[in-house]
Amino acid sequence: MSRTKRVAVTSPQTRLARSRRQSRGRWRMPRLRASEAERAAALYRIQRRRGIPALVAMFVLVLGLPVVFTLAPALDALRVCGIPLSWLMIVLLPYPVMAGLAWWQLRRAEKAEDD
């Protein structure tokens, strides 16, 4: 079976227009209709308001746990099933909490768009 060569079929004008374009395409000024702008502004404010607690919670968890370890070195000596409690905390605590936090924030952010 012989393969036929595929050729691009374009109007000469299109080809001319394409060969002429050297730059990446013009930048267009972003425009929003009045109704869109209103909705976008409302969403911007509500998402900002709802995002901050989630961010704060994440930073408190991630930056706070090292503080706990610094202030309570006794956690290294406590053992659960033979494993130092601080090692268990660093592995088993942050990931489920962060997954829950992500889920909570996702729900809130989507609700804001549904209303």
């Binding site: 976008a40 961010l55 952010a109």
Partner: protein, 580 residues
């Protein structure tokens, strides 16, 4: 040949799917837009697959052997970054229609200069991120198959560039998604196998670390760079079959030296490093031996959390979601998927300290993961598990390097020197070759710095640009340029100084080698200050609000259109351009 067995299937599958990608690709808009229908779950697996690099697969366990239990903070930061991404970046970035950060910069601030600067930053981050991947590939193949370091690096570079050149520029979402589950299985199964098969004594020893363990068997150590060992008791080494006892004290070791420790000899300390298994090793904080554990840990966490938001190859993945809402879901699911994977590096770390202390001496801790199975079982089972882990490591660096080289080639051939598809392809090969050349002399660089370097630069440049660009209407192009430049120079300059400059101590050393705690606020500050001195253009507020408008907003446009005509669609522009 173990390596061939392990690595060939991974490379072959990647090549096959790459070829399949070419066959399935009819038009360039297929190439860029068809994947916009990826569901959040598949896409988050792809994000995780691309994100789990050699640093995650091998690096965390290696850093744990080297620096102690505090290394477990790295993956916490890697994961927490996706919460920041979810809150701040995911949906607006997708809604901007911008594929990459340079695109975003132009769409939001209309500044070609900023676009070029962002492209340069992409190249810098990509280089810093790819070089450790190639380096690890070299180290792993050396450890598993005994090949010279450069062989692994060259194989890595060739595999990546051939895959990209044959498979085209397509971000093969399903490959990445498949690779996430492949990596998860190849990491999880060996971890469980190790835990089940390790002897009771070793298991006990791994959970109750003591400073200065003893070699359990005759252990040869090859030193690839100069270190000073500290012997705390008379130590027996074997030379040509005869044993010789070294007196306690400092023992300088030169590059290329080989020492064979007798069974029962004490593992010496390496000066300047965290003493293996000592009290500071056991503390779940970083930089304990420098005396500032909280600062050291926070520095790494700030870099990894904020840096994740600015990694160009990850940002690009979010674009394959159908809309901003799906992009946000992708980020949320990614947090959960990464959380599953990161439960396991610690197992390799604690076992590695007990079973392969020689890697701590030679400084090649990155190979801990693949060196472990043979210490437990020298038979076929150990060989098989080693092969599985090598395959997983190869998949890890392949997925990450593919994504990064793609972004870098895009920055070169699309943002800096615009050209067609062919130039993009050629660029890939040249970029990969350049990365190989850079990776060859970097075998001895500090793994901890390499892992966070890319994150630190991303956190000091793109993180402020994206966060302020999305959430602050007053940002101006001049401010953005000033902030990005400041962050780039401050973070990279500081780390280069740490690598090449005189040795420092105490908190200064931490802030120089991990500059994120000051370079990120500095970049934010410069960006805000310069912006406040200027005036944003009249359309700035609209440009920002546009990013927050959900796709299902009111208006006459059909609900399914993901790119209404009034929005700038970079995808359409790229498609048009490549179609020529």
């Amino acid at each position: 040949m173990d390596i061939a067995l392990a690595v060939t299937p991974v490379v072959l599958i990647t090549l096959l799917i790459g070829l399949r990608g070419v066959a399935a690709m009819r038009t360039t808009s297929d190439f860029l837009v068809a994947s916009r229908r990826i569901s959040p779950f598949v896409n988050s697996a792809a994000v995780s697959g691309e994100y789990l690099s050699a640093a995650s697969f091998l690096g965390v366990a290696g850093l744990m052997v080297k620096d102690g239990a505090g290394a477990l903070w790295y993956p916490v930061g890697f994961t927490a970054g996706y919460i920041a991404m979810l809150v701040l970046v995911a949906a607006p970035m997708r809604r901007s229609g911008a594929l990459t950060v340079p695109d975003f910069a132009e769409a939001r601030l209309a500044s070609p200069a900023l676009r070029r600067l962002a492209a340069v930053v992409v190249l810098v981050i990509g280089t810093i991120y790819v070089v450790p991947q190639f380096r690890t590939a070299g180290l792993v193949l050396t450890a598993v198959g005994g090949t010279p370091y450069w062989v692994g690096v060259v194989i890595a570079g060739t595999a990546v560039s051939v895959t990209l050149a044959l498979g085209g520029m397509r971000a093969a979402t399903y490959v990445q998604a498949f690779q996430f589950f492949l990596k998860l299985v190849l990491f999880l199964v060996p971890a469980l196998w190790l835990v089940l098969h390790v002897g009771a004594a070793d298991r006990d020893a791994s959970l109750k670390p003591v400073e200065f363990t003893h070699f359990s068997r005759e252990t040869p150590v090859e030193f690839r760079h100069e270190v000073t060992l500290t012997l705390n008791e008379p130590t027996t080494v074997l030379e040509d079959g005869t044993s010789r006892t070294l007196p306690p004290g400092q023992l300088p070791v030169h590059e290329g030296d080989r020492l064979v420790f007798a069974p029962g000899a004490q593992v010496p300390a390496v000066s300047g490093e965290t003493p293996l298994g000592g009290p500071s090793w056991q503390r779940p904080l970083l930089q304990v031996h420098e005396g500032h554990p909280l600062l050291g840990t926070w520095a790494v966490l700030i870099a990894t959390v904020l840096g994740t938001m600015g990694l160009p190859h990850v940002l690009m993945r979010f674009h394959t979601s159908p809309d901003g809402r799906a992009a946000r879901r992708t980020a949320a699911i990614t947090v959960a998927l990464l959380g599953v994977f990161y439960l396991f590096p610690g197992i390799y770390g604690v076992l590695g300290r007990v079973l392969v202390p020689e890697l701590y001496l030679s400084g090649e801790t990155d190979t801990v993961v693949v060196a472990l199975p043979l210490q437990i079982d020298r038979g076929w089972a150990g060989q098989l598990v080693t092969a599985l882990l090598t395959a997983g490591a190869f998949a890890a660096f392949l997925a990450t390097s593919l994504g990064l080289l793609l972004v870098m080639s895009g920055a070169l051939a699309y943002d800096l020197m615009p050209g067609g598809l062919r130039r993009l392809r050629v660029t890939v090969v040249f970029a990969a070759a350049a990365m190989v050349v850079l990776a060859l002399p970097s075998a001895r660089l500090d793994a901890g710095i390499l892992v966070t370097w890319g994150f630190t630069v991303a956190a000091s440049t793109f993180c402020p640009l994206l966060v302020l660009g999305i959430w602050w209407p007053r940002l101006t192009a001049a401010g953005a340029i000033g902030g990005v430049l400041t962050g780039l120079v401050a973070s990279s300059g500081s780390i280069l100084f740490a690598l090449a400059g005189p040795p420092l101590h105490g908190w200064v050393a931490i802030l120089v080698s991990q500059p994120a705690p000051w370079s990120v606020p500095l970049a934010f500050g410069v960006m805000a200050a310069v912006s406040l001195r200027g005036r944003p253009p009249s359309w700035a507020a609209a440009a920002m609000l546009r990013l927050h408008l959900d796709e299902r907003g009111p208006g006459p446009e059909p609900p399914h259109s993901s790119a209404p005509a009034s929005r700038s669609s970079t995808v359409r522009r790229v498609a048009r351009r490549l179609n020529r």
